[in-house]
């Protein structure tokens, strides 16, 4: 078995033999990524309709569906319709604090049983029950931390009240976002990622960040495109016109 010191010694010996094939430097990291992220957001407060249009086009290309509603109060009706069409009676959701709104009453009015994810870690027994619920519920409702127009991608951070499986185990994933989540390019996502890692906000504390670009897919059998191999078979994004946290 080797140690860190052995690895480093051998690497340094090799670097002494061949320091460089050509002059090269890594990317310049933004010194104050949050400031640049804020600037990007400010600029997009004007340009967002074009970004949303691009996002819709790219999302549809990968087999996702975009819905547009006026405010968060209209979200339960969309979820209710999707559930009825699929014969689903229960929905798991991020915690209201993570979503930015509480859909429970609205979903109850749609005759849906709502299981909101806790912000505290439950004891072992309750944890097992919760996992069983997550594993057997066919619809998951989440928020989104960033929406990348260029590729039709939604980016979700894990953390308290925002478990990773809500967007993974159910056959249908529904995500709610507003204009403040939109970014245009992967380069801008790079800035966001730098900013998130420099931040000590609670939603930046989770262990996983997931980029989701449409429904789960495979082409492993004779290159035939098939959806829903492990993750959700359907991905729905609900765009809320009036910003969620207002």
């Amino acid at each position: 078995m080797s140690t860190r010191a052995e690895f480093l010694t051998r690497i340094r010996a090799q670097l002494a033999r061949t320091p460089a094939l050509f002059p090269a430097a890594p990317s310049l990291r933004p010194a104050r990524p949050q400031e640049i992220a804020d600037t990007i957001r400010r600029e997009l407060s004007e340009r967002w309709p074009a970004a949303l249009e691009r996002f819709q086009r790219e999302l549809e290309r990968v087999g996702g569906v975009l819905h547009r509603v006026a405010s968060v109060h209209d979200v339960p009706a969309v979820v209710g319709r999707l559930a009825r069409e699929r014969g689903v009676h229960g929905v798991i959701t991020w915690a209201p604090s993570a979503l930015g709104f509480d859909p429970a009453a609205g979903l109850a009015a749609q005759n849906l049983t709502t299981h909101a994810m806790p912000v505290d870690v439950p004891d072992a027994e309750r944890g097992r029950a919760l996992r069983e619920t997550i594993a057997t519920t066919s619809l998951g409702l989440t928020g989104v931390d960033a929406v990348l127009a260029e590729t039709g991608t939604m980016i979700l951070r894990s953390g308290p009240g925002r478990p990773r499986s809500t967007s993974l185990l159910p056959a249908t994933h529904v995500a709610v976002f507003d204009r403040t989540a939109l970014v245009e390019s992967l380069a801008q996502v790079g800035v966001l990622l730098e900013a998130w890692h420099a931040s000590d906000a609670p939603e930046a504390s989770g262990a996983a960040i997931n980029f989701i670009t449409g429904p789960s897919r495979t082409a492993d059998i004779e290159l035939t495109l098939t959806r829903g191999v492990h993750g959700p078979k359907e991905v729905h994004a609900i765009f809320v016109e009036r910003p969620i946290r207002e």
Binding site: A24, E58, M117, F211
Partner: protein, 476 residues
């Protein structure tokens, strides 16, 4: 041990010959590689900044290697700060022992795996099985291959050599399911049900890593099916195995690679899931592993930082060079006989097992350069293949007959008079064999050359003979 003893018992040319006779394989290869080429071209066609980003990505890879000690230290420190454990494996045996120890200590009985070339490279599954741990491959293609007890034949589409009918028969037999239809949709649905159960039961999740970000201690996994997310979310232990060269400095650098990786591999703008994992589950989190382990693998890589194959350490494992390679397109992945097939696979095989292991494979390339054109980080694969050929020659490990013929030929080329004299002699000698300017079959050990390719016949008048004639005419 990273060779496939069974397959390597037969010489490369026989393995290649068998592949060329396999009608279905030929058809499957043509369809798959052509499709991948078209999708890749389309993706970059819509992405004008792609070319500049490829240069950027190449520069980042080189810059990272130039300070690999620094970035690795940073990565290790950050993973440990986040509560993860880092292990150092010089050989595949080291890596296997590390993982088996973790499995034993954590009471692991079943491990779910997301597709990883690094764990193929260290032959992890056999070792787990021998230790009483059931490894379950969860990428659909890998799952099929595992049920069939085979090896992947393409870096990103491991089961392209199988028909849906073969997969249906396999599922019926191995999963004890009656009436399995030969329909990709239905077969995928069966795999979903079978594997969902495993994800929920497994104690350990094992993954590779497409990248690891030094700045943040993040391991990055790119998948389409969602199995990478499952195995890092549900089991209580997560082990990631990665080559030391996979580290990238920052999140800003990561964004550059994400912009080109999927486009090169499958022609997608991004793969469906890009998963960034930082250590074990954090306080207040409902899910994620209790333990996170990162196994850093050397296996010949470190020695090439200052070696002839350094550039091969830039490789992202996208498979683009396989799809465009006329040799890969003709023989497929299995004929190469090692974990990594295709043009880059020859270099990686030499890196892992020494240049002696690619005595034949170093020649399994027409040096046409299509691989270097397709490579997202512009690895000059042909240049290194030539280096390898030179090394193979210098080590005198090429067959004696071949070396003798080339030595004679080289000697002849250094003696112009004799060379000119040789032309009429050769014309005389080739008379029984040459047809229409080509020699299709030669006797004795010369026949090795013409077994798989034609030799152009010596021309009725060689260039130097015509030149001499011209000179005479001009003087007149």
């Amino acid at each position: 041990m990273s060779t496939h003893e069974g397959e390597l018992a037969t010489p490369f040319r026989d393995r290649a010959g068998r592949a060329l006779q396999d009608g279905f394989l030929q058809q499957a290869l043509t369809i798959a590689t052509t499709r991948f080429i078209d999708l890749r071209r389309e993706a970059f066609g819509e992405f004008p900044e792609g070319d500049a980003l490829r240069d950027r990505a190449r520069a980042i890879k080189e810059a990272t290697l130039q300070r690999l000690d620094h970035y690795l230290e940073r990565l290790v420190d950050n993973v440990e700060r986040l509560g993860g454990h880092v292990h150092f494996a010089t050989t595949p045996a080291d890596a296997r022992r590390i993982i088996l120890d973790i499995a034993k200590r954590t009471g692991t009985r079943m491990a779910v795996k997301s597709k990883s070339m690094a764990t193929e490279e260290i032959h992890l599954n056999e070792a787990l099985e021998a230790a009483g741990v059931t490894p379950v491959e969860t990428d659909l293609g890998e799952y099929i291959i595992q049920l069939a007890h085979e090896r992947p034949s393409h870096i990103i589409a491991p089961a392209i050599h199988k028909t849906k009918g073969q997969v249906a028969d396999l599922f019926a037999k191995e999963l004890n399911r009656p009436n399995v239809p030969a329909d990709p949709e239905a077969l995928t649905a069966i795999a979903r049900v079978e594997l969902r159960e495993k994800f929920l039961q497994a104690d350990m999740g094992i993954t590779g890593a497409n990248f690891a970000v030094a700045d943040t201690g993040t391991v990055v996994l790119v998948t389409n099916e969602g199995n990478g997310r499952m195995v890092t979310t549900l089991p209580r232990v997560h082990v990631a195995v990665m080559g030391v060269e996979k580290v990238v400095p920052s999140m800003t650098d990561l964004a550059v690679f994400l912009a080109i990786l999927a486009k090169s591999a499958t022609g997608q703008k991004l793969s469906v899931y890009t998963t960034l994992v930082r250590g074990p589950r954090k306080a207040g989190e409902l899910e994620g592993p209790d333990e996170f382990h990162l196994v850093l693998l050397d296996d010949g890589r470190i020695d090439q930082i200052g070696g002839t194959l350094r550039e091969a350490l830039y490789c992202l494992r996208c498979g683009a060079c396989l799809n465009v390679c006329p040799v890969y397109r003709s023989i497929g992945g299995h004929a190469y006989g090692h974990t990594y097939p295709g043009p880059i696979g020859i270099l990686l095989t030499a890196m892992l097992n020494g240049s002696g292991s690619v005595r034949d494979l170093a020649h399994a390339s027409s040096l046409c350069g299509a691989c270097a054109d397709a490579c997202p980080v512009r690895i000059d694969i042909p240049r290194m293949l030539i280096e390898l050929r030179k090394e193979v020659d210098e080590k005198k490990i090429a067959p004696a007959g071949e070396r003798l013929v080339f030595a004679l030929f080289a000697w002849l080329l250094r003696h112009p008079r004799l060379f000119r004299l040789a032309a009429p002699l050769a014309r005389l000698g080739q008379r029984p064999f040459a047809r229409g300017g080509r020699i299709q079959r030669l006797p004795l050990f010369f026949g090795e050359w013409t077994r798989t390719r034609d030799l152009p016949a010596v021309a009725p008048r060689t260039f130097s003979e015509r030149w001499a004639e011209l000179e005479r005419e001009v003087r007149r």
